[in-house]
């Protein structure tokens, strides 16, 4: 949050307090602004927040611990399907969300450990290949586990997943205040997601400036040296995989409830790559960068989609390039330009895992002596 505020050009450095208010106002007011352009945009914002959560989780693995994971979407899938299993007519189970989301997150964490264990000795490209395979295995399982016993309902996916119900209040229905005002459920989802994102940011920030965060950074910078100062690299890597997966699993649960429907095709390799692109684009290892990256790369293709289709229709009379193709094109172009112009991302990571104010205060005190 502070980092996000500081990252605002011009204002951030001059008046951090004001910048912080701007960030907060934007976070709260965003759906209202989006509403001016139509309900679709609020929906896009909702999805953007889910991607922010995914990016925060993946950043923990890739940015903090330096473990390149190309199958991250699998944890999202685990969370989403856990939610769908435990809260839908599919198994006739309707557990409350505050139970299902933690269970989904825990299942994802377990999946993280299962992925982590055999890959402990792998690094870089090799790790990327195995994790990529893992992501595909999960998707293919989901696609085919409808026979001989129907567990996942195969490619059709699971329908009619329960919406989020907060203390008996179904937020998928519009909220009526008095007779005049109704609040669309998209808004309600936005604020629920925002709360989850805020919680994730706080938790991840705490991890980053802790003993655990430093151990991850140490492993990322030099694994041999990390071992030589007594870091149990095996446990720390497993911890990174499982904690990163936890955020993915929680986001998956929210996704299932929001969408009301899960199917394997939502969890393709392209999604894993899209999330990785977001964190590389925003600034790997930097929370603020990751958030900005996720928001930008979710919103930009949508804007493009709404602009590109009418423009193409006017120019050529029909749509030449499918918006989905354009999205991938845009992601690739964004990556290429980023690598050329700002290889560390939009908001590069500072090498600061300790508390700067502590250090600065100390140094000043030393100087005074």
């Amino acid at each position: 949050m502070n980092e996000l505020a500081l990252a605002i050009p011009w204002l951030g450095k001059r008046n951090p307090a004001a910048a912080r208010w701007v960030v907060m106002a934007l976070a709260i007011g965003a759906p209202l602004i989006a509403m001016l352009f139509g309900k679709t945009w609020v929906r896009i914002l909702d999805f953007a927040l889910l991607y922010v959560m995914l990016a925060i989780g993946l950043n923990l693995v890739v940015g903090f611990a330096g473990l390149l994971d190309l199958g991250y979407i699998a944890f999202y899938a685990v969370g989403a399907y856990t939610f769908a299993f435990l809260a839908s007519p599919h198994f006739e189970l309707h557990l409350p969300f505050w139970l299902v989301i933690p269970i989904g997150a825990a299942c994802a964490a377990l999946a993280g450990i299962i992925l982590g264990l055999p890959t402990l000795r792998l690094r870089g490209d090799y790790l990327a290949i195995v994790t990529l395979g893992f992501g595909e295995i999960v998707r293919i399982f989901l696609n085919n586990l409808n026979h001989p016993v129907n567990i996942t309902n195969g490619p059709q996916g699971i329908n009619m997943v329960d919406p989020l119900v907060l203390f008996g209040w179904d937020i998928s229905r519009p909220l009526k205040i008095g007779d005049e005002i109704t609040v669309n459920s998209l808004f309600l989802y936005y604020y629920v997601f925002l709360a989850f994102v805020a919680l994730s940011v706080v938790l991840v920030q705490r991890l980053q400036v802790s003993r655990v965060g430093r151990a991850w950074a140490a492993i990322r910078d030099d694994e041999l040296a990390a071992k030589a100062i007594g870091i149990n690299t095996r446990n720390m890597k497993l911890l990174a995989f499982s904690l990163g997966a936890t955020f993915g699993g929680a986001a998956g649960g929210l996704f299932a409830a929001f969408q009301g429907f899960v199917s394997p095709e939502s969890f393709s390799l392209m999604e894993s790559i899209a999330i990785l692109t977001m964190i590389v684009f925003g600034g790997m290892g930097n929370l603020a960068g990751v958030i900005v990256g996720a928001l930008t790369l979710t919103a930009l293709p949508e804007i493009l989609r709404y602009v590109a289709v009418p423009v193409q229709e006017r120019l050529f009379g029909h749509v030449l390039l499918d918006p989905e193709v354009l999205r991938m094109l845009l992601l690739s172009l964004a990556m290429i330009f980023m690598m050329l112009l700002r290889p560390a991302g939009m908001i590069p990571a500072h090498s600061r895992y300790s508390k700067p104010e502590l250090v600065v205060g100390k140094t000043a005190a030393e100087a005074a002596k």
């Binding site: 938790l203 705490r206 991890l207 400036v209 802790s210 003993r211 655990v212 430093r214 151990a215 950074a217 140490a218 990322r220 910078d221 030099d222 041999l224 040296a225 990390a226 071992k227 030589a228 100062i229 007594g230 870091i231 149990n232 690299t233 911890l239 904690l243 090498s351 600061r352 895992y353 300790s354 508390k355 502590l358 250090v359 600065v360 100390k362 140094t363 030393e366």
Partner: protein, 262 residues
């Protein structure tokens, strides 16, 4: 004198090459112990066996009366042995202070849950780690670079930082792998002072070094390795007059070293 570390008949082979052959030595508590030998004599291999990076084929290492685990570096550090590397291995993207703070890992207890909940214990520990890391930076004399990213430090300061990071693990035995390599005379003199201070504070030091002057001046006792065998172990004055050692360094009759030197 109390024995701190005892290596018993340590043998390490790499395929057909015997890098260490039946090496036994004892390091006493509170001394500076040197390990010298020509290039390829097995000094660094011994280091790697000692610190758990390699598993020896034969022999064992007894530290403080208990056998050291092999192949598990983090347990060796926990037992009280810290090391530095011949080619400096810092966490390059982290600041000097963070490097030392990372070194406290093994001596701190906060677990993910207490960190996520920011329990008082976790916060206090974090505060303590910062303080102690800063003290260690001051101890090795680079506290003014606390905030500098470690890859931007000068060579000598990087060496010092690596020592500070090793000291952060609160070792009883500090193993330095060629700490003076690449240093100029002033830096070497400062390093010597630092090692003496460390020893004065009760930490036993194991020193691998090429700089013969430094070793002879600094070490209480030293061992000489040649072709994986220990050819001498004594006080510096005696080692200097040892025939086998002279032969190994300068070439002489009847030793393999003569053949290699030719």
């Amino acid at each position: 004198m109390i024995t701190l570390l005892e290596a018993k008949h340590v043998t390490k082979r790499f395929g057909g090459l015997t890098a260490l052959s039946d090496v036994s030595l004892t390091i006493r508590k509170g001394e500076v112990y040197g390990l010298i030998g020509p290039n390829g004599a097995g000094k660094t291999t011994f280091f790697n066996v000692l610190t758990g990076a390699y598993v020896p084929e034969e022999g064992e290492l007894v530290f403080n009366g208990t056998e050291l685990p092999t192949g598990k570096p983090h347990l060796v550090v926990a037992a009280g042995i810290a090391r530095t590397f011949q080619n400096i291995r810092l966490f390059r993207e982290m600041t000097a202070l963070e490097n030392v703070m990372a070194g406290h890992h093994i001596r701190s207890r906060a677990n993910p849950f207490s960190i996520l909940l920011q329990t008082r214990q976790a916060r206090e520990e974090e505060h303590l780690i910062t303080e102690r890391a800063f003290e260690l930076l001051r101890y090795v004399g680079i506290e003014r670079f606390a905030d500098t990213v470690s890859k931007n430090l000068s060579y000598g300061d990087q060496r010092r930082l690596e020592i500070a990071r090793a000291l952060a693990t609160e070792p009883q035995l500090l193993a330095l792998d060629e700490p003076a390599a690449g240093m100029n005379a002033t830096e070497t003199a400062k390093l010597r002072e630092l090692v003496q201070t460390i020893r004065g504070d009760g930490v036993t030091v194991l020193l691998i070094e090429h700089d013969v002057k430094l070793v002879m001046g600094l070490c209480d006792r030293l061992a000489v390795l040649d072709f994986g065998k220990k050819i001498a172990e004594d006080v510096p004055a005696q080692v200097q007059q040892n025939d086998a050692v002279i032969a190994a360094y300068l070439g002489g009759h009847g030793t393999k070293a003569a053949g290699a030197a030719a």
